[in-house]
């Protein structure tokens, strides 16, 4: 069997298997309890760090800390809301 023949044989077999591969394409973007907690913590950490840095810059402790913490919490809530919406669309 020369290479040309081998290649055409291979192409046929690939074409046969293609529909099977198509089915396996599912998005793996699920909403678990672990990821919910991580998102909440991440938003709060970012708010905390930005708040502390801004307070150091302007010497206005604890004004920016409070504002940025609240904004960080809102941001993490927004991320979660988007995730829930996405998982609802998939189902």
């Amino acid at each position: 069997m020369d290479q040309e023949e081998q290649l055409s044989n291979l192409k046929e077999r690939i074409a046969k298997l293609k529909p099977v591969a198509q089915i396996q394409k599912t998005r793996n973007d699920k909403l678990s309890a672990f990821s919910i907690s991580i998102e909440i913590v991440a938003g709060v950490i970012v708010g905390l760090i930005t708040g502390i840095l801004l307070d150091k810059l302007f010497a206005t402790r604890p004004l920016f800390l409070i504002i940025c913490l609240i904004l960080g919490m809102i941001a993490s809530a927004k991320v979660l809301w988007q995730k829930v919406k996405n998982s609802k669309d998939d189902a």
Binding site: Q6, L10, I38, V41, A42, G43, V46, G47, L71
Partner: protein
Amino acid sequence: MTHNPLAQFEIKKLVDLSLFGYDVSLTNSACFMIIAAVVSLSYFSLALKSKLLIPSRLQMSAELIYGLVSDMLDQNVGPKGRKFVPLIFSLFLFILICNLLGMLPYSFTVTSHISITFALAILVFFLVTLVGFIKNGLGFFSLFLPKGTPWWLAPLMIIIELFTYLARPVSLSLRLAANMVAGHVLLKVMASFAVSLAIYLKVLPIPLMVILIGFEIFVAILQAYIFTILSCVYLNDAVNLH
């Protein structure tokens, strides 16, 4: 006989080195990162040494991993994402090998430290920001303003979107590190229970441990996959703006 479940994450110095007053000692963490790099390099050079038309099993496994990553980029970013295959591929492979090396007895789990996962995540973050600005110019800022926002809400929305954007590397790194730490601590605690449980349950705890270790290997692969797929999703934001 007390076992501290967190003792396995301790960083120890193997070789003391100092350069220009900085401590650059070879720690067990650095050692395992080097091992991971060597393992992945030698695996691929061995698997792709003889490029056969009909691949051998080893070559097949290497091509499978490559196919997984390139498919991931095709699905999430599209044809413009082909350029990023080398980066995403090496990122996936490094995290995967590090996670799997951590499952070996007496080894060290590199990805259980936030300092390492955060370094990887901040790399992706800066790359995405840079690519966004290079591809879209100042139009990249429109990422921070969702469509259909009323004008009086725009300043608040921009700040909130900026915070969600900044939270990405934090959540990306925390997810990987927390998963690895949680899994290894659970494994250690269960294993120390298994010794005393053997008095009452005889050999029953041992198959349980096998199942747990199997689950932990699954988590190791899944977390590497999630890290890379989220990097792809973030890249998609920068490459195809809206």
